[in-house]
Structures are given as structure tokens and as C-alpha cells.
Amino acid sequence: APVQSDTQAMIYLSQFGYLNPKVRNPSSGTIIAADTMKKAIIEFQAFAGLNITGELDRETAETMSLPRCGVRDKVGYASDSRSKR
């Protein structure tokens, strides 16, 4: 099933390095600005080759639900590399 809520999307985006990892724990009470969330979604969409909408649209939510690799980064949480070649 696709990611269904902003909270799930926030957890995903933080888990894979698009948002501050503190957001991984929703009970931490972290509140993020709408434009921070939008920027993270845009970065994810760009990396995943999706249409850039900045919104948690259906295609984006479905992509977040795909099985994937959870490779650990050096700081201890999983992330996609977004550095330029």
C-alpha cells in the first residue's frame, strides 16, 4: 500500500536522508515547516526520477512504498546519496 499520511512520508524522508533524522520518531514532537517538507519531497522526486511536484502525490507515495535497500550512511542512518557526480 502507498504511504498514506504526511507522518509516514516524514518518517520515510528522514530515514533516507532527506529530512533531519530526528523526524524518524514522530513522538519526538518535531514540527517542520511546510517548505522544508516540500523541499525534501522535491529532492526525493528528483532522485527517484519522478515528476517534480513537491506534493505527496500518488506516484510519490507509491514509490516510497517500494521495497528498497536501507544502506547505512556513516552517520548511522540510511540515506540516498544526493551528491553530484
Binding site: P67, R68, C69, G70, V71, K74, R85
Partner: protein, 384 residues
């Protein structure tokens, strides 16, 4: 591709399967993981040696939930596995809650995920090329798995090319004999500049096919000594090819009627021909032309007044919204002969001896002087 920043300083690496998956035979796991290492060994001078005890470079474990590294697995789906880069030890962990499978569309293919994870163990980060093995998303079982050229470039950036042989065929001396047909027959291309197909090889050579013959094209037109006979250079390949392209994996695909062939350089790459309906599900027989769009790795097929977009990373590879009208490509005529995306970024379409230059920024045929279409004989084949 993206490099994490560390790599191994030795070329012989040892590995150990410290904990096997619960649902698979140990012997079969040994074979699949060895194959997954071999994917990388084929492209470099790295060798991998399996040990059953003692210290190794890369330790492999199938674990569930929390397993001691502070990054617990999450049960079926979601995260399938993770691995450490060389500087952090290179170990690879697989979620044993997944239904690991071998050679089956059911479950999660062990070989493909292991090859991906071992890429991390060797120093590769996630790629943003969707068709690359190192893309982060699992794309389902691929019975004819091949590394993407992006993966090959990544691993060779870390460890260099294989000294003994280059699987992409660059530098591989082909054993087939190329024989020229009588000179003067190239005039045929100048008398009638229509072609069956035009494509670029992985080595960057542009070829034009027509009937049973082919020509090598240079900046100045046709290279000396051409035409040659297709079947004598690409053994097993018939004449009168419908379409051809070289994909990002460096392999060249030829289409004719209901069949297709795959070659590495001029050497057939397995048991071909195969049915288009099997290898390119959703694509019709008797296509007019095909081209790989370099920006996204998708393959566009053209036939009559329609086109299809084939994305090898998607299931199904052709969306239900296809075919679409070729008129979407402003200025491109129906019933094409050939298509080619050139190194300058333009896509060229050929029809009845003329060609069109398509600009992907305006998504239309370029306005230029002289205007398109232009005679292909003069501009592409150097005919007077």
C-alpha cells in the same frame, strides 16, 4: 553513479556467510551469492574467495529485526537489506523476514539484492539512474539481469577496468571475419539514401544498415572499405533489419519482424533470436524504428503513426496509455525508416533518404537553414 568515498586496497577479497536465510538451501545460497560477487568481478580485476571460518573482509548475515547494529529490519517489504561501505567493514545484512527466492518471480530475488548490497560493500552509493543495479529501489525479478553501464562506470572508477578482458567488448578482438562487398556498391546509398536502421555501437561507431549490407559512418561520410555484409560481421543476424539500438548496458539489440537479437559488439550474446513479445512485452512486431532516450534510459519504438515507450525498470514496461500518436513529436512524419540519438544530444529521424533533427528542448523538429528534412545522402553519407 555515486561513490561513497572509500574502497578496498586489495584485489582479492574474502567473504563468509555467517548466518544463512531460514527458507533457502545453503548450497543454493552459496551459488547465488557467488554469482552476485561475480557481477562485479566480471568488470574489474577483483576476485572473491568464500571462507567458512575465520576473519574475512565481507561478512554476510541474514537477520530479523534488531540484530546488533542499531538499524533493525522492518519485516516483509520495506527495507530488504543494508551493507557497510569498505571503510566501515563491508559487511552485508539481509532481512530474513523477506521471502528470499532464486530464479522466481515470487518473493524477493536473492541474487539481485545481494549484487546491489555487494556494490555498497565495494564502495558504491545509490545511483540516481533508475535502470542501474545501484538504484535504491528493488525492481522485481529480472531473469536476464545485466549491469547497467552506469554501474560498470561506477565500479571501474573505483577499481579500474578488467585487465584480461573487457566484457563491454571494447578492445575485444572479434573472431568474426569482416568481408567487403565489391566497391562501387556503396554508390547504392548515394543513389537511394533510404536506410533500414542507423545505430551507434557501445564503442561509439555509427552504422547504417540497408538490405544485407552495412556502412560505417564517420564525420566525413562513409568509411573506406564499405559496404560489408551484415551476416558476415554479426554472425547469425539477417539482413533487412527493422530497427536497432545500443542500450546503456553496452549491448546492441536488433529487431526484425517478430524477433530480436542481442549482440555485444559483433558477437551474439546468448541464444537468439527471441520473440519481441517475450523480451519486449507490449511492443508490436515489425517496428519501423527505435531509439534510446539518453536522458531517462527509456526506449521509444515507432511504427506507422504510433509510438510506444518501453521502460525496462517498470512492470509492465509499457504503460497502458501507449501507443500514442507520433504526431506528439512535432514535425516527425509517420512510417519512419530509422531513428538515432546522437552524442550531441539531438535525435535524428530518417525517412526515404531524408532526415529530421529533433530538438528535445523545444520538443519539435529544429528550424534551421537549410530546413529539415534534409537529404541524408549529402549530410550523413558524404555523397556528392
Amino acid at each position: 553513479y555515486a561513490l561513497q568515498g572509500s574502497r578496498w586496497r586489495v584485489k582479492e577479497l574474502s567473504y563468509k556467510i555467517a548466518k544463512y536465510p531460514k527458507n533457502l538451501d545453503h548450497g543454493k545460497v552459496d551459488v547465488e551469492l557467488a554469482k552476485a560477487f561475480q557481477v562485479w568481478a566480471d568488470q574489474t580485476d577483483l576476485t572473491f574467495v568464500r571462507k567458512t571460518k575465520g576473519q574475512v573482509h565481507i561478512e554476510i548475515r541474514f537477520e530479523k529485526g534488531e540484530h546488533g547494529d542499531g538499524d533493525p529490519f522492518d519485516g516483509p517489504g520495506g527495507t530488504l537489506a543494508h551493507a557497510y561501505f569498505p571503510v566501515y567493514g563491508g559487511d552485508a545484512h539481509f532481512d530474513d523476514a523477506e521471502n528470499w527466492s532464486i530464479g522466481s518471480y515470487r518473493g524477493t530475488n536473492l541474487f539481485q539484492v545481494a549484487a546491489h548490497e555487494f556494490g555498497h560493500s565495494l564502495g558504491l552509493s545509490h545511483s540516481d539512474v533508475k535502470t542501474a543495479l545501484m538504484a535504491p529501489f528493488y525492481r522485481g525479478y529480472e531473469p536476464h539481469f545485466q549491469l547497467d553501464v552506469d554501474d560498470i562506470q561506477g565500479i571501474q572508477a573505483l577499481y579500474g577496468k578488467k585487465a584480461s578482458k573487457t566484457p563491454m567488448s571494447t578492445g575485444v578482438k572479434t573472431t568474426t571475419t569482416e568481408s567487403s562487398v565489391p566497391s562501387g556498391e556503396d554508390a547504392e546509398l548515394c543513389n537511394d539514401a533510404s536506410v533500414d536502421t542507423v545505430f551507434r555501437s557501445a564503442e561509439g561507431v555509427t552504422y547504417a544498415f540497408k538490405g544485407d549490407h552495412y556502412w560505417k559512418l564517420t564525420d566525413d561520410g562513409i568509411a573506406a572499405g564499405y559496404p560489408k555484409t551484415i551476416s558476415r560481421s554479426w554472425q547469425g543476424l539477417p539482413g533487412h533489419i527493422d530497427a536497432a539500438f545500443t542500450y546503456r548496458n553496452g549491448k546492441t539489440y536488433f529487431f526484425k519482424g517478430s524477433q530480436y537479437w542481442r549482440y555485444v559488439g559483433k558477437k551474439v550474446d546468448g541464444d537468439y533470436p527471441k520473440q519481441i513479445s517475450d523480451g519486449f512485452t507490449g511492443i508490436p512486431d515489425n517496428v519501423d524504428a527505435a531509439v534510446v532516450w539518453s536522458g531517462n534510459g527509456k526506449i521509444y519504438f515507432f511504427k506507422g503513426s504510433k509510438f510506444w515507450r518501453f521502460d525496462p525498470s517498470q512492470k509492465p514496461p509499457v504503460k497502458s496509455t501507449y501507443p500514442k500518436p507520433l504526431s506528439n513529436w512535432e514535425g516527425i512524419p509517420d512510417n519512419l525508416d530509422a531513428a538515432l540519438q546522437y552524442t550531441n544530444g539531438y535525435t535524428y529521424f530518417f525517412k526515404r533518404g531524408q532526415y529530421y533533427r529533433f530538438n528535445d528542448r523545444t520538443f519539435s523538429v529544429d528550424t534551421a537553414d537549410p530546413a529539415f528534412p534534409r537529404p541524408a545522402g549529402y549530410w550523413w553519407f558524404g555523397c556528392k
